[in-house]
Amino acid sequence: MANRIYPSIASMEETIFNLADTYGLYAYVYQTIRKWNRYIWSDGSFHERKNGTNDYMMITLQSPEGLVGQAFCEGGSQAAMVSAFHLARRQLRKDEYTLQLIRQLEKVERKLPPLLMPADHLPQGLPKPAYPLFETQHQKILQHLPNTSLTSTIEVVREYIHTLRSNGTAHSVAIGRLIANHQLFDGEKSHHLIAGYSSDTDEPLLIDPVLVSLAEQFARHQARFTPSKQSCERPEHVHTNSYLLMDASILARFIFAALQISADGEPEHARNQLHALPLEGTPGFTPLHPLGFLLPPGPLLTQSGIQPGFHHFYQKLPFLCGGHFSLHLPILATDDQISAQPEEIIRQLQTKGLVDEEAVNVLEGIDSFHFDAETASYALLPKYSHKYFDGLSSRQSPFWIYGRLDKLLSSAIGGFGPIQLEHDPNHPYWTVGVPAYAFLSPDKQDKEFVKP
């Protein structure tokens, strides 16, 4: 199919490599063709379906003097590729980060065979009977939340990735992806329930695990979607120095924000390290790096700051590849040792001596979140807030928190509860694994609390 509609990948690459040879340049080419079908239900009935194809090509050129030039192209015509080649060629300049990353990736790859998977083994998408199952779940959710507007999307993707370098090393994979998203709108704010997975075998994609995950998420968060009539205490004063316990959705949002920070600015030091992991099964799983190498796990944020090599592509071309990220946080207790309830966690923190006489503010869900990448500062209004003080829990009306992202991530002391997979609502193919709750100590934190 791909070959019938498009000039074949091989002939495109031939053009690029012939041009590279002509100019005496070493080329790294990464190409991906994404064919997708998307189905949307809205408020209990079928809304629309759509199919599409995105083809992307990333060209990296290296001169004998070690200069690097890159260009990115969407749209597979021969003419566009040639333009992209010349864009990359004119862009040739000193780029230590990319050169260093190339050396690093070469080293990893030396020990491994090329990845070559026949493209015809690609999963042929979702079986038709799966759609009614999804639709039924959509309608069930609406029954529970009568005053909510609900839009549900299911997307099936067949992605072919092919890489080639001037030395002849080629990799080629085919990955099937399935992602489902319930978007609830309560009249003021949107809430997302997202679940998905990927597979690189010829097994058909199954919707059952996705449906189960969505149902579990709904059960866990249902209280958040229904506006509460219970009045709650408004924080009377501005807190300047308090312990925080935040749930997985909030910590995840902070991690996704960290990917937007420009690595070109001043280096930010972080106590907790953030890594990108090619984790099989996650909806954005990709085993290849856009430089045309096998993708090993790589650091994004370490003690010495943002690592531009790996960070680069996620920040600058967020739609090119999905990814899974993980914040290295000491897990203070998993589900086996403690039920992941805030009361229990705080009791544990007290026995460990991590919390003294002060109050702990528990933050759950996101009402509003803003992030300014230039200053790495954020503004967060959680959906729910509780105060734990002197063994007593009281609900309080949520307040805004402002601060710097690097300081916040560094102040995370540890996690509680099982690791949860959270999706970025802006890039559903980006996921993080984070504990159900994370504890943040004020010592390392510069934050201000403000009444809304």
Partner: protein, 321 residues
């Protein structure tokens, strides 16, 4: 790029092989080509098309594709036919609407020239820049065949925060002004304060919203703008005792009806009598109804701004602690 006529022909040639099956009878194709050249990103060439087909059995089908349509020897009609459903043709129009403030397409052939030839003006390399060339094409089966070309230039001198933002590259006199402004800025700056420093403005001062943040305010308020003449930035700034310049804001509704907004400005630059004294971040409440009626703003123009900024006295904004 493709014409309405050429695409009609492409559809027609695909049909004869499909005898006995429903045929497409109408179409709407929106195609966009974006080229981006930027000092801190990878150069990009993006092609993106959205196609709506109306079929003879009153169904429609929706497709997106990034390839150049004219390169397709055979349109995949079989695949498209399978995706038909009953829907309204108008749906695509509402899908194209978005939250963006409407912008007027403007085009600078000098920017297109840079994309076509790779020849940049010498002065450009002093700046961090982002140049964008967008070509949009809308073709419909009813004969509509329209093309829009648009350019965008954003320039920033390292260490200086007033971006130049326009559809056009600066003209020679504008460039001279920008260079003067930067020199002036560096001379007047005694020391650069860190972000989020404890510096807070005095009780009476003026807040100048840059064009971006002013647009955000316009989006959230039903403005009544008095027809006052805009003043020039530099002369105006020198006359003000204390000014907070805010290029970017985030707005959240405080009340459910959107009558009051909480505004967060991650960065605000403080100027006293024309001299830069520090950077801070700030937040305040804004009452949509009374903002423009009781405190009409002063419009401020500046070379490098793609719209007017607006200055309000601090009394019109309620600061939160």
């Amino acid at each position: 790029m493709i014409t309405a006529k050429a695409f009609s022909k492409q559809l027609d040639t695909a049909i004869p092989a499909q005898l006995g099956k429903p045929k497409p009878v109408s179409f709407r194709l929106h195609f966009r080509q974006t080229s981006i050249l930027s000092t801190n990103s990878i150069p990009q060439l993006l092609n993106h098309g959205e196609l709506l087909l109306g079929w003879e059995d009153d169904t429609i089908s929706l497709h997106e594709i990034s390839s150049d349509w004219t390169q397709m020897p055979h349109l995949p009609l079989d695949e498209w036919r399978k995706l038909r459903f009953f829907g309204k043709m108008s749906r695509i129009d509402s899908a194209l609407e978005n939250d963006q403030f409407p912008s007027v397409p403007r085009f600078d052939p000098k920017i297109e020239h840079i994309f076509l030839t790779g020849e940049k003006p010498d002065w450009l390399d002093q700046y961090q820049y982002r140049l964008v060339l967008t070509k949009e094409k809308l073709i419909q089966s009813n004969g509509i065949d329209s093309e829009t070309n648009q350019t965008e230039a954003v320039l920033r001198l390292p260490g200086y925060w007033f971006d130049y933002r326009s559809s056009f590259l600066p003209a020679d006199d504008e460039l001279r002004y920008l260079q003067m402004e930067q020199t002036w800025f560096h001379q007047m700056t005694k020391k650069r304060m860190p972000v989020n420093s404890s510096i807070q403005p005095k009780s009476q001062y003026v807040v100048l919203f840059g064009p971006d943040s002013f647009r955000t305010i316009l989006r959230h308020c039903e403005p009544y703008l008095q027809e006052s003449s805009p003043v020039r930035f530099h002369e105006w700034l020198l006359k003000q005792e204390e000014v907070l310049i805010i290029p970017k804001i985030f707005a959240d509704s405080v009340s459910s009806k959107g009558t009051e907004w909480l505004i967060w400005a991650p960065t605000a630059y403080i100027y006293q009598a024309g001299t830069f004294t520090g950077i801070t971040s700030t937040r305040f409440r804004l009452k949509a109804a009374s903002l423009f009626t009781s405190f009409p703003p002063q419009l401020v123009s500046k070379i490098g701004w793609d719209g007017y900024g607006a200055a309000f006295s601090s009394g019109s904004l309620v600061h939160t602690s």
